[in-house]
């Protein structure tokens, strides 16, 4: 009886959804409708896009860029995209299979048995191509080099490990049955097995609840892709480019407490929903501690003498990413002093 109910829900749930969304819903959405309906449209859900689902490439079917002796054309026709590099006399044309990123897009390309990160990327700010961040220093001498930065086995594993689901199994790249973007199984390890058992009426093996993790643990969990505090420290990455490593920045905050759920990543961000860009949305999160009315406020939590709203607009400044194209919210929550250097 339970199975029929599940199938009934599936039939209704799938109506009006894209193929991508349907796939997600048919695996998990029957029971977890709320999450499954919104998660595929999040930035994480769209962390990797295939050409036929890539609205950006559809909207901009002919993207061009010139850099030194090389010109670039990213051309989309009838659902297929080609990345073409030319030096004026010869050219290399590579099909775009994997677009990394929900907003800005960088392409992972396969050519001559090697993998490359595309030399140019699409940036929504300019609605066009520019050099991929971090690749400014590359000075290609051949057409092959102009394709982009070669990425080795571990680099490819890292890309797919974070931008896709089930692409890395036992630390090895496996592209036979992966799913683009961050799907349920990416975070909820065992979700697929749980679904299969649930279809047989066995609900005994639910994946562990991530919501029960401590702030420290959830920070490390999210940090597997967003870069944990420990990873950044160990690697010695300093400077404003680390502003996009939110778990690292958050753990540097004076108010970070690994055992207090009010400062956890998921206290502010529901990973199943799109990130809110409104400062006011986060006020209640701050006031959960920094308010005279806050119950169980930690003794170190002071009440702001300046304002009671839009806290993050002052205490989490926007930091331009080196090289332009992006501005990130600094998750190092602090009293920002005018002219102070970027705190590493």
């Amino acid at each position: 009886m339970k199975i029929y109910k599940v199938l009934l829900v599936l039939m209704f749930s799938c109506a009006g959804l894209s193929a991508e969304q349907k796939q997600s819903v048919t695996t998990c959405g029957s029971c977890h409708q709320k999450q499954a309906l919104t998660q595929p449209d999040t930035q994480m859900g769209r962390a990797m896009q295939l050409p036929e689902q890539n609205e950006t490439l559809k909207a901009y079917p002919k993207l061009t860029f010139h850099r030194g002796a090389y010109s670039y054309l990213v051309e989309t026709r009838e659902g297929t995209t080609q990345y073409i590099v030319s030096d004026g006399t010869a050219s290399i044309s590579i099909p775009v299979l994997w677009s990394m990123g929900a907003q800005a897009q960088t392409w992972v390309l396969e050519h001559g048995g090697h993998m490359y990160e595309s030399m140019v990327s699409y940036y929504p700010l300019t609605r066009g191509l520019d050099v991929t961040v971090g690749d400014d220093g590359l000075a290609p001498k051949t057409l092959e080099e102009a394709i982009g930065r070669p990425i080795d086995g571990e680099g490819v594993t890292t890309c797919f490990g974070c931008h896709a689901t089930n692409a890395v199994i036992d630390h090895k790249l496996n592209l036979t049955a992966f799913k683009p973007g961050v799907g349920c199984e990416h975070c909820h390890i065992g979700a697929n097995a749980h679904f299969a058992n649930a279809m047989k009426g066995d609900f005994s093996n639910s994946p562990p609840s991530l919501g029960n993790l401590s702030s420290e643990d959830i920070s490390n969990f999210c940090g597997q892709c967003h870069r944990s505090w420990e990873l950044v420290v160990r690697a010695g990455w300093r400077g404003p480019a680390n502003v996009r490593f939110q778990p690292y920045r958050l753990a540097n905050s004076k108010c970070f407490d690994g055992a207090d759920p009010r400062i956890s990543c998921i206290a502010c961000h529901d990973p199943h929903k799109r990130v809110s860009r409104e400062a006011a949305y986060y006020d209640q999160k701050c006031l959960a501690c920094h308010s005279e009315a806050a119950s169980m406020a930690p003794p170190h939590a002071k009440v702001c003498p300046v304002a009671k709203s839009n806290c993050s607009s002052c205490h989490m400044p926007k930091v331009p990413f080196p090289g332009g194209h992006f501005v990130f919210t600094d998750h190092d929550i602090r009293i920002v002093k005018p002219g102070e250097p970027y705190p590493n």
Binding site: G134, D135, V233, A241, G258, G323
Partner: protein, 375 residues
């Protein structure tokens, strides 16, 4: 003869460190100016015995003449009079405490005298003061540092030093043999290799040098050949795994497991395997290896560190803390131990302790490098 020419070249740099006392001494009346000038002239004319004698007289007249002690030290080193050179350089260092080249040269003298701990200490202190900033100096000083680390059983640190040497392209037979000794964990100098082991040591060094230079396919071929030619030789799989651990953890773990077939009770192999598994987030799988390592060799810091970290990560925070604290007793600035403490305190909700440890970690990890934008 040693490396006199190197340090004579460095003399210009060292002169920058000369203190005001030196100037005062030169201005003092009497015999001193005459003797000092004569010493300098004799040195420039390569009349080394005479120069040494005159510098000795000059520093007897003015014991605070730093320049005199420096030249006396370098000249005595040049004629292999290492004990006297150490004495002169020690006077110079007292007058000029930040003179990196003097520490490094004293370290080389101590090396010749067989005072290896002191030698390593001085070489490393000299490097910290910039003695190895000059590429030629760097090669010689780093090589001695690496062979000393090997002699003193600090093989992993030696391999790290050799990696830098190889990356700078300073590879020769001595360096390759030195790498081989570190790979095989043989605490001796290249000059002490027994003829029957020269082939093995050199081949091990050549294979490891390929990893260090980034030639991974070449390294794989060389190590495979090595394993075939010298099956069951301890430490080959371990060192290959260790060298791979920062670039290919899967392969590193595979090699470490193979080493356990040869050296099943090796604490260092168990602890390294535990560490490598931990770096992949497999702390529960790592724990038995960490426990075995600590059981086999409780005094091994790596074993204590791996065990402490694995216990903390698998939920036994209170059980893990003493192991981390044990590491810090011997090495108070161990970054990995402080990283583990930061996490442990954070998990326990000891916010202030966690923050203190985090700030310390940031300090210990230094200024670091600019975050790579495409990471």
């Amino acid at each position: 003869m040693g490396y006199l020419s190197l340090f004579v070249l460095s003399a210009g740099l060292a002169m920058l460190f000369l203190t005001a006392e030196g100037s005062l001494a030169q201005n003092s009346p009497g015999d001193f100016n005459q003797v000092a000038s004569a010493a300098s002239a004799a040195r420039e004319q390569q009349d080394i015995p005479r120069a040494i004698e005159l510098y000795q007289r000059a520093v007897r007249l003015h014991g605070d003449w730093a320049e005199g002690w420096w030249y006396l030290g370098t000249l005595r080193y040049g004629v292999n009079n290492y004990t006297s050179a150490v004495e002169a350089l020690s006077h110079y260092i007292e007058l000029t405490p930040n003179a990196g080249p003097a520490y490094a040269l004293r370290g080389l003298c101590e090396f010749e005298l067989g005072s290896y701990q002191e030698s390593l200490h001085d070489l490393q202190h000299g490097i910290s003061l910039g003695a190895a900033n000059n590429p030629r100096n760097a090669g010689i000083i780093s090589y001695h540092e690496a062979i000393l680390l090997t002699k003193l059983d600090r093989f992993e640190e030696a391999l790290a030093k050799y990696s830098v040497i190889v990356k700078h392209g300073n590879v020769n037979t001595d360096v390759t043999n030195g790498i081989g000794l570190a790979v095989l964990r043989m605490p001796m100098f290249p000059s002490d290799i027994h003829p029957s082991q020269q082939g093995l040591v050199l081949a091990a060094g050549q294979a490891a040098a390929k990893v260090m230079s980034g030639d991974m396919p070449g390294a794989a071929r060389a190590f495979t050949d090595l394993f075939e030619r010298y099956p069951n030789t301890p430490n080959l799989h371990y060192s290959y795994g260790y060298l791979l651990s920062s670039v290919d953890q899967e392969q590193a773990i595979l090699q470490l497991r193979k080493e356990l077939d040869i050296s099943p009770s090796s604490a260092i192999v168990h602890s390294m395997l535990a560490w490598a598994l931990g770096m992949q987030g497999e702390f529960a799988a790592a724990l038995p290896n960490a426990q075995k390592a600590a059981e086999e060799e409780p005094s091994l810091p790596m074993a204590q560190l791996a065990l402490g970290k694995d216990l903390i990560e698998t939920g036994d925070i209170q059980g893990g803390l003493p192991h981390i604290e044990a590491v810090l007793k011997g090495d108070p600035n161990n970054l990995e131990a402080h990283l583990a403490l930061a996490k442990a305190y954070s998990k326990l909700g000891q916010r202030d302790d966690a923050r203190r440890e985090r700030l310390l970690c940031l300090k210990l990890s230094g200024q670091g490098t600019a975050a790579n934008e495409n990471l």
